[in-house]
Amino acid sequence: MKRVFGKSFITALVAVLLGLLAGAVLMVFIGANPFSGYLYLFRGGLMTIERVGNTLATATPLILTGLSVAFAFRTGLFNIGAAGQMLIGGLCATAVGLTLVLPKPLLLTVMVAAAILGGAVWGLVPGLLKAKFNVHEVVATIMMNWISYWTVYYVVPAYFKGAYLETESRKISEAASLKVEWLTGLFGGSYINLGLFLALISVIVIAFIIDRTIFGYELKAVGFNRHASEYAGIKANRSIIMSMMIAGAMAGLGGATFYVGYASNIQIGVLPTQGFDGIAVSLLGGNSPWGVFGAAVFFGMLHSGKGFMNAMTRIPPEIADTIIATIIYFSATSILIERNWDKLKKRAGGAK
């Protein structure tokens, strides 16, 4: 419990407050009332059971892309390619869902497996390039993002073209959707789907791997110091490849929860923003699985509430993205917060 409320929790909290403050300043700048703005933003995310369901559904892919980024981070790798991995995962799941005819439980299993596999392959490539050829993973994952973008751009119209639009795939059948009746009914017809449980399981599994296994320990050791860990007999190259693969798998699963859970078809010409928001989620969550979960739900609330706020106040919905981006900037410069926090503590200590 002590670690949860430690320094990283406080810096995250301060970053969030500063981000919300920056959002308020922007609202004032365009002549809106920040109090009513935030009231509608939060009400839009939480007002009814349906909206809570939508918040959780929006958070689901964010949890998984956040886990993806956080897991790679632990091995000292920056996975900026979660967007591409997610997209390819979504494509794999959609492709299976539109092709195979199976009973729902079996079909969903195959679809989810395909998404995980697709994402893992997309993570494997930068991992291999990093381990074997020392190609920087940031550039490699950016290239992989565009390769998945163009792959979807051509594969979807060629094989899975929608009934009306060239720019999206056919809708998946009810049997191929992660949405299930009892859950949708429970949350008053919201977008919530089984993906949430997959995300929760992933959080638990990743937390277990990182904190409780030798494999996880080795990954972290490589993240701290690649050369020292090699000297200690850890196969650093293998750790890097495995780490990127698992990171890719998480983002790929995130793609399944989005494209065949939240949505029911896949669009071409869009890199999912959840991939980049995953970086924000991971950072705010202090790269820990449960931190990622909390941060994703918070960002999910901002995203699902922004439409309601826009309808009620005419504040542009991009305010949510601006707030999230500002929070990330303040997290990145958290050393400033820490310094001041220490100073404040000292002063408080001196006053006693």
Partner: protein, 315 residues
């Protein structure tokens, strides 16, 4: 084939120039030791600033509105990059994370402001730059037809900046100092160079150039602010590495990207190319980049200290 090349050449150049100027900005930043992954966002800032200025002024001052727009983008990019410089240089923040934050802030903030102004989030300008032939030079056979006809003034501006940058980096003491900060900042410091100041200057140059790059997109082929430069900033970053952190290398790499993308875009109307599947043509630049990075990794010329915050106490 020759007529095809002549036809698509102007488009390839138009696509190359914003990439080139942005990658040049990245060159300054990385040579001083600061990774600037925020180039994408800084381009968006320039894109927005120029659209804002030009759309407001083009009726009142039709002759100089575009020039003022470019200038505004240059300044806005430099100012916005201060956020990155402050985080990376003064606070020793993780440079990749700070750059990512820059990208996210720029993308969200500009659309937020644009939507507040126009409702749709797009800003349209009425007139962009006009293509023109270079007098005399366009009469040269072959080369004149390829390079000196139907050009934008910004193309020559950027090429001039390329020359000046090369001169600055390799032929002046300022350039030597800047590069020293990226190779071995401690040594540079002990020689009396203010590493922090050098890096601040370099990051601001990268912001200004990237901003200019965004503005050039607007006044040449886009004509409308749309809130995104669709990955060109990242591509510029890749071109910087592909070009091995050298001005001429960058020129070659960006031209390769420009040409390859243009070919992919027009492949449908060229019989010789329409037989190749589009998926291959579109992915070609990215796959080649990965291949080149693999091949060149052994001889990588990356600045030694790039990505590391400068810590005075460390030796």
């Amino acid at each position: 084939m020759w007529t095809v090349i002549v036809q698509i050449f102007p488009y390839a150049i138009a696509f190359t120039i914003p990439l080139l100027i942005t990658a040049l900005g990245g060159l300054f930043s990385e040579r001083s030791g600061v990774v600037n992954i925020g180039l994408e966002g800084l381009m968006v800032i320039g894109f927005f600033a120029s659209a804002l200025v030009i759309s407001k002024l083009e009726l009142a001052l039709p002759d100089i509105a575009i020039g003022l727009g470019l200038l505004a983008a240059f300044i806005a990019g430099a100012l916005f990059s201060l956020l990155h410089a402050f985080a990376c240089i003064s606070l020793n923040a993780n440079q990749v994370i700070s750059g990512t934050a820059i990208n996210m802030i720029a993308g969200a903030l500009t659309v937020f402001l644009a939507r507040n102004m126009t409702g749709s989030g797009n800003i349209l300008i009425i007139h962009g730059l006009v293509r023109s032939n270079v007098p005399l030079l366009c009469k040269i056979p072959v080369v004149g037809r390829l390079i000196f006809t139907q050009t934008y003034a910004t193309t020559w501006l950027v090429l001039a900046i390329l020359l000046v940058s090369w001169f600055l980096l390799y032929k002046t003491s300022f350039g030597l100092r800047l590069r020293a900060c990226g190779e071995h900042p401690q040594a540079a410091d002990s020689a009396g160079i203010n590493v922090y100041r050098m890096r601040y200057i370099a990051v601001m140059v990268s912001g200004a150039f990237a901003g200019l790059g965004g503005a050039i997109i607007l006044v040449t082929y886009s004509g409308e602010f749309t809130g995104t430069v669709s990955g060109l900033g990242f591509l510029a970053l890749a071109a910087l590495i592909f070009g091995q952190w050298k001005p001429l290398g960058i020129l070659g790499a960006t031209f390769f990207f420009g040409f390859a993308s243009t070919i992919a875009n027009v492949s449908q109307v060229i019989p010789a190319l329409s037989r190749i599947p589009g998926i291959l043509l579109k992915n070609f630049p990215y796959i080649i980049t990965l291949a080149v990075l693999v091949l060149s990794s052994k001889y990588s010329q990356a600045p030694r200290a790039v990505g590391e915050p400068y810590d005075k106490a460390k030796r």
